[in-house]
């Protein structure tokens, strides 16, 4: 490593050029690691399980326009139709599905004395007795709904459910001692609308994946009769596309309502997360393009410096330097520049993360991003310089004698 001295002195000859490339590497490190961190976080958010059997769940939204229609009869007919399609495990009518961005939130009280700000907020899903099975939830305690639990909620009939099935997280939030099953909770302050917890399921998200109470959910046995129905169904693995096509065909036969959409749950989830998915794609392209630009910048500069030093390299070769010595010269050179840049860059990375976190709440970056990002950019520099360095190594020693 005796080369470092002369290489370092040669770099000092072109202070500004060296500083520029070092700064470029520093900024690249700051941007790339921060972008990678944000991308990683969004991907982790999306990957959280909703609790549903995601790949095998479909949603059909219908709207009626003949207001004289018997909606309850229509729901029964539709559910009957959907449940008899081969490949359907379960189907239900719902007010909304998890992670869809639109739903119903409400508050529960454990006793009549609690104040209105002491309620536990939960995502309320109105389903029938196949709801639990359609969402693919596992009952960890108690029972599912019975047909006689069902009530109707419409303009004419304000049926109030007497029972509910809650998520484990909601059960724990309401009754930290773990004795939620069988307890009565109230949907209204002052002890109004009592409901008995008859079952507890493992886990399901609410409609708003960014909320901080995303896991507090409950199913209530209610038929909502407000101008249409959102049907959800779960199929045997691989049957979903065929079942949805068939379902649309069968439901279209009723001409007194329209089918707004038929979509898979996965598509619904993609829509809900479209902002995060876009962020992942945009930041992903930033990482890729920036690495390429910085890499090409290093290639360009080194290429040029090889052209500039042809005679000098020829002389070194004539004086006994091996090809590897020449390659190593350039690798050590970019290594020294990278080190400077990456050192400034680490400070820059932390500063940028601090700025983005305090201004836009992107979160604190775990420290392990720094060594990983640094190593990656170091490697990028070494790889980029290889191309021109190998060209330099091919300069024949005879060049030294030619133009003198």
């Amino acid at each position: 490593m005796t080369d470092i001295g002369p290489i370092f002195r040669a770099l000092l000859q072109n202070k500004l050029g060296t500083l520029l490339i070092a700064l470029q590497i520093a900024l690249t490190l700051a941007i790339v690691t921060n972008a990678a961190f944000i991308t990683q976080q969004r991907a982790a958010d999306i990957a959280r399980p909703t609790g549903l059997d995601e790949p095998n769940t479909g949603i059909i939204l219908t709207t009626i326009f003949d207001m004289q229609l018997d909606q309850m009869q229509m729901l029964r007919d539709d559910l009957e139709t959907l449940r008899t399609i081969p490949g359907v495990i379960a189907a239900t009518v719902v007010n909304s599905v998890p992670a869809s961005g639109s739903g119903w939130n409400d508050g529960l009280y454990v006793d009549a004395e609690q104040l209105s700000n002491e309620s536990v907020n939960y995502g309320r899903f109105m389903v029938d007795e196949q709801g639990l099975d359609t969402f693919g939830l596992e009952l960890v305690a108690g029972r599912n709904f019975e047909p006689e639990d069902m009530v109707r909620f419409s303009m004419e009939e304000n049926g109030i459910p007497g029972v509910l099935v809650v998520s484990q997280a909601l059960a724990d939030a309401l009754f930290p001692d773990g004795d939620a099953l069988g307890k009565t909770v109230f949907n209204e302050v002052g002890g109004g609308q009592p409901m008995r917890i008859v079952g507890i399921y493992d886990h399901m998200q609410n409609a708003w994946p960014s909320s901080d109470r995303v896991d507090l959910t409950a199913l209530v046995p209610v038929y909502m009769l407000f101008g249409g129905g959102m049907y959800t169904l779960r199929t045997e693995p691989g049957q979903l596309p065929r079942v949805l096509t068939e379902a649309e065909e069968l439901l279209s036969k009723n001409r007194s309502r329209i089918i707004d959409y038929v979509r898979t749950f996965e598509e619904q989830k993609r829509r809900t997360y479209s902002g995060d998915i876009a962020m992942i794609k945009l930041l992903g392209s930033v990482i890729a393009v920036l690495s390429v630009i910085t890499g090409l910048g290093i290639v360009g500069l080194a290429w040029f410096s090889v052209t500039q030093r042809r005679k000098q390299i020829g002389t070194r070769r004539a004086l006994g330097a091996t090809r590897w010595d020449i390659v190593r010269y350039f690798m050590v050179e970019i290594g020294l520049i990278s080190m400077t840049g990456l050192f400034i860059g680490m400070i820059g990375t932390i500063a940028l993360n601090w700025f983005l976190d305090t201004s836009y709440e992107v979160g604190r970056m775990p420290l392990w991003y720094l060594p990983v990002g640094t190593a990656a950019l170091w490697l990028l520099g070494q790889l980029a310089v290889l191309v021109p360095a190998r060209r330099a190594a091919k300069i024949p020693p005879a060049l030294a004698t030619r133009s003198v």
Partner: protein
């Protein structure tokens, strides 16, 4: 002289094609990325109704749960009103020039003939909506006070729906069926898309299409048309009343309310009016929290509603840093390139070119690279905006690249390139010719 320098620049660029292409590409990518995020940010943070935005005020009343933490700013208060408060205000004789009360609903449009019915978003509003928000009409016009009072079955439709239902003809007086109800079309709105859609800018809905159907709010209420969009309640509606009536008389918020106030005196008087209204309601047992009312003009309201999302700000900052890297990259490459031109420069200097002429000539070369980079950047920004349009829902109105943006892209790239090239060009023009000529 300029043409000669331009020819020299072109031949110099051709002599180092890889290096020049790298510079153009780097500049282009930097400008492209920055222009993409900047265009989105610029349009998001733009004034949707420039000539009236300072006289239109969104109204907020703090009717919420007395047990919640105290209100400090407009952001702590619900963005919507209860139907009863909105209705009381819209019927009252207030200091405002005009007021509008409205909510978003929906219906199935049933076309005449055999075309299939389809769902449409419907805005239930008052006649004042159209002049207040300066809505342009293609045919006919808004309905009037009389129709609002008569709770009439009239409708204003959008151009797009008019094209679909009536082949773009003047449909004033024609019949429109929504669900099982019939309406008489009184006006057709021309293309109208305020950006953001300020009058109802609920989280995530600020960039949606304007509705294609507008009907009198009183009519929609009579028909018990359900609200679409956010509804928030802190207290259950009275269960002894029929459901819809109970909902209307409840503390549930789901309507939007705007007032037109032209002078500071009017603003102050209106604010007093609102405060007094709330005091009156307190007297009958509502509004249990400390008195808090807010009025915000359009741009203040866009801020309260956080219409520009943090993600867009993050992207804007990062893409600016990205551009900075690209510029640094270009300076580095220019340094290398001009240092390599020492011999040529020395020759030109020896032949009698002044430093100034050498400086000018090389600056033109840098400028040319900037223009090419800007063109590449504009092309990439166009592609970037298409990509953004595909990735986000409801961004289709945000992502147009106009001539101004195109020129800005080219000008920015040229300015950055010239600034980036200033130092290398200056360095090369200061080289002493004698030393360099010797080594040739």
């Amino acid at each position: 002289m300029f043409n000669y320098y331009l020819r020299l620049a072109l031949s110099s660029i051709r002599r180092t094609p890889v290096l020049s292409a790298l510079m153009v590409l780097a500049l282009g990518l930097g400008i492209g990325a920055f222009m993409t995020t900047f265009t989105v940010y610029h349009l998001m943070s733009g004034d949707p109704i420039p000539h009236r935005s300072d006289m239109l005020y969104a109204v907020q009343l703090d009717n919420w749960d007395p047990n919640r933490p105290p209100t400090e700013s407009a952001r702590d208060v619900r963005a919507q009103l209860t139907w009863q408060d909105g209705n009381n205000l819209v019927l009252a004789d207030t200091p405002a020039t005009r007021q509008v009360h409205m909510y978003g609903t929906g219906a199935v449009v049933v076309p005449e003939g055999n075309d299939p019915p389809f769902d449409e978003s419907v805005r239930a509003t008052w006649h004042s909506f159209f002049p207040m928000f300066d809505v342009p009409f293609l045919y006919g016009g808004p309905w009037g006070q009389a129709e609002d009072e008569a709770r009439a079955g009239v409708a204003v439709i959008g151009r797009e729906l008019n094209d679909k239902l009536f082949n773009g003809e003047n449909s004033v007086g024609r019949d429109l069926q929504l669900d099982d109800q019939h309406y008489r079309v009184v006006g057709v709105i021309d293309d109208w898309q305020p950006m953001p859609r300020f009058y109802h800018s609920d989280w995530g809905r600020a960039f949606e299409d304007t509705e294609q159907v507008f009907i009198p709010m009183n009519r929609a209420i009579d028909l018990q048309m359900g609200q679409r969009g956010n509804t928030n309640c802190w207290k259950m509606p009275d269960e002894d009343l029929p459901l819809f009536e109970g909902f209307l008389k409840s503390e549930c918020v789901f309507t939007q309310f705007w007032a037109e106030l032209e002078t500071p005196q009017q603003v102050a008087a209106y604010k007093d009016y609102l405060d007094n209204y709330v005091r009156g309601q307190k007297a009958i047992g509502r509004f249990e929290r400390p008195l808090a009312t807010f009025i915000s003009d359009v741009m203040e309201w866009m801020d309260v509603m956080r219409v520009v999302r943090d993600d867009n700000r993050v992207l804007l900052r990062l893409s600016f840093l990205f551009l900075l890297v690209c510029v640094l990259n270009t300076v580095g490459l220019l340094m290398a390139k001009f240092m390599g031109k020492g011999g040529e420069v020395a020759l030109r200097r020896a032949m009698g070119a002044s430093r100034r002429q050498v400086f000018q000539q090389n600056l033109i070369e840098v400028g040319l690279i900037g223009v090419l980079g800007g063109l590449a950047g504009a092309g990439l920004a166009w592609l970037g905006l298409r990509a953004v349009e595909n990735m986000y829902r409801g961004y289709q109105h945000l992502v147009h690249l106009d001539a101004v943006m195109l020129l800005t892209a080219i000008a920015t790239a040229t300015v950055f390139a010239v600034l980036a090239g200033m130092y290398p060009v200056w360095r090369v023009s200061r080289l002493a010719p004698a030393g360099l000529l010797k080594t040739q």
